[in-house]
Amino acid sequence: MADRAAARAVDAEELFFDALEGFPTVTMYLKFAFKSFQKQLAYKFEYFVGVVNGLLFIFIFTSLWKNIFDSSKASASSGFTMEGIVSYAVFAMIIRISMSQDDMGVMGKIRSGDIAMDMIKPYNYFGVTLAENVGGTMFHWFTRAAPILAVCLIFFDVSLPRDPVNYMLLAVTWTMGYLIYFMVNWLFAMIAFWVIETFSFQLMKYGMFTLFSGGIIPLDFFPDFIRPAVAYIPFMYILYVPTATFIGHIGHGEAMGFILFQGAWVAALGLVSALVWKAAQKKLIIQGG
């Protein structure tokens, strides 16, 4: 039975790619995404643990916010209600999980010299890495984000927005946020071309991401003197904008403005990524001969 189902899946995949004949580049990127999805299947147990971890974090943060809101006047200054902040905490975590990327892969390849195996292939390594990440992310959707969402809707006091516009805005802001996150990871990985010991840079990235992406604390709680500065670094556009837009904390009109900023960041980071990659190829020294 299982064999027959697997054979049917393979047939479907073949039919799909047959239909794409004549678009070799699209076919290649899609294949990378498919295979990357398939690769993750080798580590099933890890994702079960991932679901438990995600739920644990959601439980911790929602409890924390409830206590803070019970005992202070935080709600008045931030514009969040108790229900609002709980739903922010839940969806910020789910969106964060839905954006999971392999942020060590490129750096690891540069450090080990395995990047040579990508340089001998006739493809754009940036594009291929993005495609592989998309495949992996899809896997995280099915195995972590979706189950966590289901559990939260049943057991936590949160609900999905009713307005379909929120879903459309989420699709756009999520995609832009995902691309920004990917390129931030890419640029931090590129540091490995110039610096051998990259751990401190990774630490810096994690620190800034945790603090400024809005994954834990919405930017509305930041002191006034920091908020303008945060607007000039890319992190808030990764999680804060999609989350706050989706739950309706950011209105539709205001969201359009944020989308423009996201677009500008995508363009700017794309340009810098291309330039840095070009410079890195000249700099390349393959470790280990």
Binding site: P24, T27, M28, K31, F32, K35, Q38, K39, A42, G113, D114, A116, M117, M119, I120, K121, P122, Y123, N124, Q281, K282, L284, I285, I286, G288, G289
Partner: protein, 340 residues
């Protein structure tokens, strides 16, 4: 450029800047503020032409510049100076275009996807190289027959033995039917049978498919079994370049005598018709030239008469011995020994 020339290197050069660490704690603190660096020339004005269909051994010691040259020809590294053309393409300027025309195997790295079955890796490569379905089926059938891929196709790469992985890697590098193949130590770590299989396969694709092959290896038996031509690189410069047969006829006539003396290691410069190659404890390796001088049995009797010989064996010289001698003494010494 001659139509026949497939690869041309002209004064190819690659320099690396190496930061020099200072010794000790004080030294490392100093290095924080000023880094002293020096420039190392890994490949130093290397020039050669390789014609279509050749099987070339590119040999040298560790750090001699072999891999750096290969990396420039495959488009991974940009040269500091000079020029390289592979099949009409400048590899480091048009990396992607060059990649379509070449096959590459690095013995110490795999181009397969670790967690995927071999069949999936090959399918992905088909998409990367845009191999038309009919040609893919034909190429895969042939490679599968020669490399006995059948039983490996469904196994994840991480579960393959080194020999199996190398077979799969060879198939991966040839799936798109490249004209040129670069092999960097393809037999490293393989057992004798696996080595033999790889060699037979390489010989076959060179002779039957006309694939031009550039092979770097430390295994001189690989070179002797496979290569029509040898290029020896030493400290970034070409030390010798020519047909394997010429290397043999110029440097490998005569015999090698491996002599163990009783409990000493005498100075044998007085012995007739022998040149010392290597000496170690109470053992010496001596070259017997044999052209016109004393007959071998006379030379040996003289050895037994004049010295206290415990054991003696006679070998045919191997390409490896000659190459080793060139690393150690340079070509001039070898030529002098030949005509001396």
């Amino acid at each position: 450029m001659n139509d026949d020339v497939l690869i041309r290197c002209q004064d190819l050069r690659r320099e690396f800047t190496v930061a020099e660490g200072r010794a000790g704690l004080l030294g490392s603190i100093k290095s924080l503020f000023s880094t002293k660096s020096s420039v190392i020339r890994a490949v130093d004005d290397v020039s050669f032409d390789i014609r279509a269909g050749e099987f070339v051994g590119y040999v040298g010691e560790n750090g001699a510049g072999k891999s750096t040259t290969i990396k420039m020809l495959t488009g991974i590294l940009t040269p500091t100076g000079g020029r390289a053309v592979v099949n009409g393409t400048v590899p480091y300027l048009e990396r992607v275009k060059n990649a379509f025309n070449i096959g590459v195997v690095f013995g110490q790295r795999s181009q397969l996807w670790w967690d995927l079955p071999v069949a999936d890796s090959l399918d992905l490569l088909r998409a990367i190289y845009r191999v038309p379905p009919a040609r893919y089926r034909q190429n895969l059938a042939e490679l599968s027959k020669w490399l006995e891929l059948g039983p490996l196709m469904k196994m994840p790469v991480r579960k393959l033995s080194l020999g199996q992985r190398m077979r799969a890697d060879l198939a991966a590098s040839l799936l798109h039917g490249p004209k040129v193949m670069f092999l960097d130590e393809p037999t490293i770590g393989l057992d004798i049978i696996a080595k033999d299989n790889v060699r037979r396969f390489l010989k076959k694709i060179n002779k039957e498919q006309g694939v031009t092959i550039i092979l770097t290896t430390h295994d001189m038996d690989d070179i002797e079994a496979l290569c029509d031509r040898i290029i020896i690189i030493d400290k970034g410069k070409i030390a010798w370049d020519g047909a394997t047969n010429r290397l043999k006829s110029q440097h490998m006539n005569g015999k090698i005598l491996e002599v163990e003396f009783h409990d000493y290691n005498p100075d044998i410069s007085g012995a007739i018709g022998l040149t010392e190659m290597k000496t170690e404890a109470n053992k010496k390796w001596l070259r017997y030239q044999g052209d016109g001088g004393a007959a071998l049995n006379d030379v040996i009797s003289a050895l037994f008469r004049d010295y206290c010989v415990k054991d003696l064996s006679i070998h045919e010289p191997k390409v490896g011995d000659v190459v080793k001698a060139i690393y150690e003494h340079g070509v001039d010494h070898m030529e002098a020994a030949d005509h001396g």
